[in-house]
Structure formats: structure tokens, C-alpha cells
């Protein structure tokens, strides 16, 4: 935005350090009064070069690095990466390990949505709601912690299985947590739907139509809020999602309110999935028997080939494209993050709205800058 602007307008740089988002990015907004004439996003403030780093790590070491792509969905990142390697090497995952993976991934989805939803409320000035959702998130985090041993970066999945079994008494703990969480989600929904100020700030703001959303390449809750039931878990089932009964949560309106509503519904759906998994989970080994894969992973050489594997991240479609040349390190890894197109779609959405709605719309997209920059 170097061009000359008329004196009635001004350029405001929101960021790179701005309370709007966890993680820095810059939004150069050209304002006329309070409304936005034009905007542009400047990325890369935390570009880390993960793709280059992955090329120089062995497959096993890569797991620790992919954890740090998006800090809110570390398990799904791992699943995409590990699934990629398993497809290339032709490893079968035992059923019990698959169920455990599904459980951790859905837990991760719940905590991510809780954070995104609460943070969104705090963007509207409703700080107490943020506190409430984080309070619930801590409970879910404790569940994840008890399985994986870490809060954010888990390093839990291994090629062919998972590192550890479910801890003893996990089912009771989960039941206890979900009981409270269901109540709390109901109360959040009630607060959201009855609060006039909240409705005034969200209904009809930042509307995406299905056609435009598809054109922008948006996926995940922002797309499902427009009524398109695009969900990798249904369309291209991985792990045991085929055997599990769940709905793809959609809304019609495509505005900010619908996106938050989709997240609320998805949390309920995730809890339902986990409960099914806990009922159905078979006993058995965590790693394929008769192979060297195990907790002490061998140095792997993956046969040459190329593969594209995608999973459903809390924010949308997460994909890894991996090229192997037969050595112990991947030749090229491309990470397709869900937030990348979502963030790219912000400037067209922001045209003509007021400054206060920037945070409303950007927050409802639940963007994760770290993953965009990689």
C-alpha cells in the first residue's frame, strides 16, 4: 500500500504486535473514518522454515517438529505426518492404536474450539467468557496431559501406533469431564443466543456465501457455517472414522454467529465420538506385531514415492505432501495448512466493515498464525 491516499483516509497498521491474535501478523487497513476501504495482510513474522528443517531430520525426529506447526492442533499435525509416512512405507496400524489416535485428536479438537470460541468472546470485550472457556479447556487439557504427558506439544504418535496406552481410569475421568463440559457448552450457547449485544455484533457480520467460500478455498468451520458439508472425516475417512457414527455440523447463514455455533456443535459431536470410541475400543497391541516398529522406533528407510495425505484439523483441511527418495530423511515435505487460505480470505471479507468488526471477523475465523507462516 505505497500509493498516495486521499487526505480523508488513513492507513492503520494493525500488528505485527496487536492484541487481536495469538501470533503476529500485520493487517494494513486503509480507513475512511471507521470503515475499511481496503486492506492487505503482511505475513511471515514468524516464518520458521519448517519444510526445510523437515528435509534434514530423520522421519522419527520429524514428529517433534511437526508438533510445532500449529500449537493448538499438534495431534492432528502429527496424524497427517505420521499417516503420510505410513502410507509410503505401507504400515498397518492396529485397531486399538487407531482408536487411541481418534480419541486424542477429538480431545484436541475440543480444546482448540474452546480456546477459539472464548478468545472470540474476549475480542468482543466479554473477558469473563474467555475465562470460563479456558476453565473448561484446562480440564480437557488435563485429560490430554494424562494420555500424552504434555499440554501442547505431545510427540505421542509413532509410526505404526501410539507411544502409550490409555491411562487407567481414563474412561471415568472423561465421563466426569464431559458431563460438566456438556452443561457448560449448553450454558454458553444460551448466553450467546440470548445476549442482545452479542447477537448485534455477530448476526449478519462477515457473511460468506457457499460459492464465495469455495472460491476462496476456505475449509473447516467457516466453510461448514455456510452449509457445505465438507469434512475430510466423512469424505475421505482415515483411521476408524468409518465405523463411528457422527454428523457433520453445518449452519446455513455463513455469518460470524453461525461459525461460533458450528464450533459449539462440533464440540458436542466430538464428545459423542470419544464416548463411542471408549465403548468400542478393542484390546490388542499398540503396534503391528511381527514388525520392528514399536516405542523404540528403528531408523526407518521409507521406499521412494510421493503421497498426499489429508486429515480434518480443528480449523479445516490439513494435508501433507511428502516426497521420499528412499533415504532415511524425506526429500520434500509440503504442509498444507487450513488457516492459510482462511487468512488469505480476510481482505475481501473486511471490505467496507468498521474497525470494530475486524476483530469480530478475524477472530471468528480462528486463525493460527504459526501454521500459516510455518
Amino acid at each position: 500500500m505505497e500509493e498516495k491516499i486521499p487526505p480523508s483516509e488513513m492507513i492503520v497498521h494493525l500488528g505485527p504486535q496487536h492484541p487481536m491474535m495469538p501470533g503476529p501478523f500485520r493487517l494494513n487497513a486503509r480507513l475512511k473514518g471507521e470503515s475499511i476501504v481496503d486492506s492487505e495482510i503482511d505475513m511471515g513474522w514468524i516464518h520458521k522454515g519448517i519444510e526445510k528443517i523437515l528435509e534434514n531430520k530423520t522421519y522419527l525426529q520429524g514428529i517433534t517438529i511437526v508438533d510445532r506447526i500449529c500449537y493448538l492442533a499438534a495431534i492432528t499435525n502429527e496424524e497427517a505426518y505420521v499417516g503420510c509416512v505410513e502410507k509410503l512405507a505401507g504400515i498397518e496400524v492396529p485397531e486399538r492404536a487407531q482408536y487411541i489416535r481418534v480419541i486424542t485428536e477429538e480431545l484436541s479438537r475440543i480444546q482448540s474450539h474452546l480456546l477459539g470460541m472464548g478468545e472470540y468472546a474476549s475480542f468482543l470485550g466479554f473477558v469473563s467468557m474467555f475465562m470460563f472457556t479456558i476453565r473448561d479447556r484446562e480440564d480437557v487439557m488435563t485429560l490430554i496431559d494424562s494420555i500424552t504427558g504434555a499440554r501442547v506439544t505431545h510427540n505421542f504418535l509413532r509410526f505404526g501406533g501410539v507411544k502409550d496406552d490409555l491411562p487407567e481410569g481414563f474412561a471415568q475421568d472423561a465421563k466426569y469431564v464431559f458431563e460438566n463440559l456438556r452443561k457448560d457448552i449448553d450454558s454458553y450457547e444460551e448466553l450467546y443466543s440470548t445476549d442482545d449485544i452479542y447477537r448485534g455484533r455477530t448476526v449478519g457480520i462477515g457473511v460468506l456465501t457457499p460459492e464465495i467460500a469455495k472460491d476462496l478455498g476456505v475449509s473447516g468451520p467457516p466453510l461448514r457455517a455456510t452449509g457445505v458439508d465438507f469434512d475430510i472425516r466423512k469424505d475421505e475417512p482415515y483411521l476408524v472414522y468409518e465405523d463411528i457414527d457422527f454428523n457433520v455440523c453445518t449452519q446455513k447463514e455463513g455469518d460470524v454467529y453461525a461459525r461460533i455455533q458450528v464450533r459449539l456443535d462440533e464440540m458436542r459431536e466430538s464428545m459423542y465420538i470419544i464416548e463411542q470410541c471408549l465403548d468400542q475400543i478393542p484390546s490388542g497391541p499398540l503396534f503391528p506385531e511381527g514388525t520392528p516398529y514399536g516405542k523404540r522406533s528403528p531408523v526407518m528407510r521409507v521406499p521412494a514415492g510421493e503421497v498426499f495425505h489429508r486429515v480434518e484439523d480443528p480449523r479445516g483441511e490439513m494435508g501433507f505432501y511428502m516426497v521420499s527418495d528412499g533415504s532415511e530423511r524425506p526429500y520434500r515435505v509440503k504442509i498444507r495448512g487450513p488457516v492459510y487460505p482462511t487468512l488469505q480470505a480476510l481482505p475481501p471479507l473486511l471490505k467496507g466493515v468498521s474497525v470494530a468488526d475486524i476483530v469480530s471477523i478475524a477472530g471468528s475465523m480462528d486463525t493460527c498464525t504459526s501454521e500459516v507462516d510455518r
Partner: protein
């Protein structure tokens, strides 16, 4: 009522007589004689008590640790117990928490935030990325050795550290201020 009239009388004189930089009623000095004197007395202890009990930190979430940073301010860990509250403007902050990878592109911005903060100010390196580059220490894009750029007071290793570690870091910083060994103030 009298105050208003008085100011109206005085104001034209200011513009005529004194330069733009001198404001009546505001003493502006270049020396730090007063603070130097205070540092030798017991008053400094009182000042340090005030400072250590109100360490407002800058909300500057930069990476994985940023999530833990957010969570630390919330109900389960509650930094407010120590008088530590998040501030969004660097002008109001005392503590800069470097909570993630500092890239070549971001370093100038981070330095600018640091320059905008009023002294005395402190830095906490939260997480491996801030201390040494963490998993990205070889990357073409990141800037390593942040402790050569900023005067770091407390190092919190972990990737990411738990929320308790950040609170412990604040406690360590308080201890350091109390012991008069911190780098934010010259003793």
C-alpha cells in the same frame, strides 16, 4: 472556578516567553541525581517492593508458548494474584515476555516494542525458541541468541514450559528485583 481563570491568564505568557519544551508545573531534568541518591537509601527497597508487586506484562504471543501465556493469565493460574496483569500497549508494560521464535523479519518489530516500553523494564525468555532458537535453531529464517540483543533476566526452558513455569519465572524475577540483581535497573 478560580483554577480555570488562572490558567486562562497564564497561558498566553507561556507561548510568548518560554520555549515550547518547557511546561509550567512540570520539572524536567536531564540528571538522574535524585534517583541516584535514592538508590543508596532505604527508599529503594520501598520502590522495589512496589515494582515487584506490579509487573505488568506485554501481551505478545508469538508461538506455541503464546498459548500457555494466554492460559497463564486465566482462572486456573491467575497471575493477578501477584499483581501481574496483561497490557496491550507497550507504553504501559514493564515486562516483555519473548514467547517464541524471533525471526529475521520480526526482530526489528520486537526491538521497537522494547524501545517503546518505559524503563525500568525486564525481559523473560519463555521457552526454548527464545533462549536458543529451539527446534528452529538451524533455520534460514530465525534469529538466534536473543540474549545478546535483549538484557534477559530469567530463562525458562521447556518446549513449551507449563503455565506454572511462567508464574515461577515471575517469582524468580521478583526475587531478583528484591535482591537488586536485575538488569532492568542500574544499581
Amino acid at each position: 472556578m478560580d483554577e480555570v481563570e488562572e490558567r486562562e491568564k497564564v497561558e498566553p505568557k507561556i507561548f510568548d516567553k518560554i520555549g515550547y519544551d518547557d511546561i509550567p508545573g512540570v520539572v524536567m531534568t536531564d540528571t538522574s541525581a535524585v534517583s541516584d541518591f535514592l538508590k543508596k537509601t532505604k527508599v529503594q527497597n520501598v520502590l522495589n517492593w512496589g515494582r515487584k508487586n506490579s509487573l505488568w506484562f506485554m501481551v505478545n504471543a508469538m508461538g506455541c508458548c503464546g498459548v500457555e501465556l494466554l492460559a497463564t493469565g486465566m482462572a486456573h493460574y491467575d497471575t493477578d494474584r501477584f499483581g501481574i496483569i496483561p497490557r496491550n500497549s507497550p507504553r504501559h508494560a514493564d515486562v516483555l515476555i519473548i514467547s517464541g521464535y524471533v525471526t529475521k523479519k520480526y526482530l526489528p518489530a520486537l526491538k521497537r516494542i522494547w524501545d517503546q516500553m518505559p524503563a525500568p523494564k525486564w525481559v523473560i525468555c519463555f521457552g526454548d525458541c527464545a533462549i536458543s532458537g529451539g527446534p528452529f535453531y538451524e533455520s534460514y529464517s530465525t534469529h538466534q541468541n536473543i540474549d545478546e540483543v535483549f538484557p534477559v533476566d530469567v530463562f525458562v526452558p521447556g518446549c513449551p514450559p507449563r503455565c506454572e513455569a511462567l508464574i515461577q519465572a515471575f517469582v524468580e524475577l521478583q526475587k531478583k528485583i528484591e535482591a537488586k540483581k536485575d538488569k532492568g535497573t542500574d544499581y
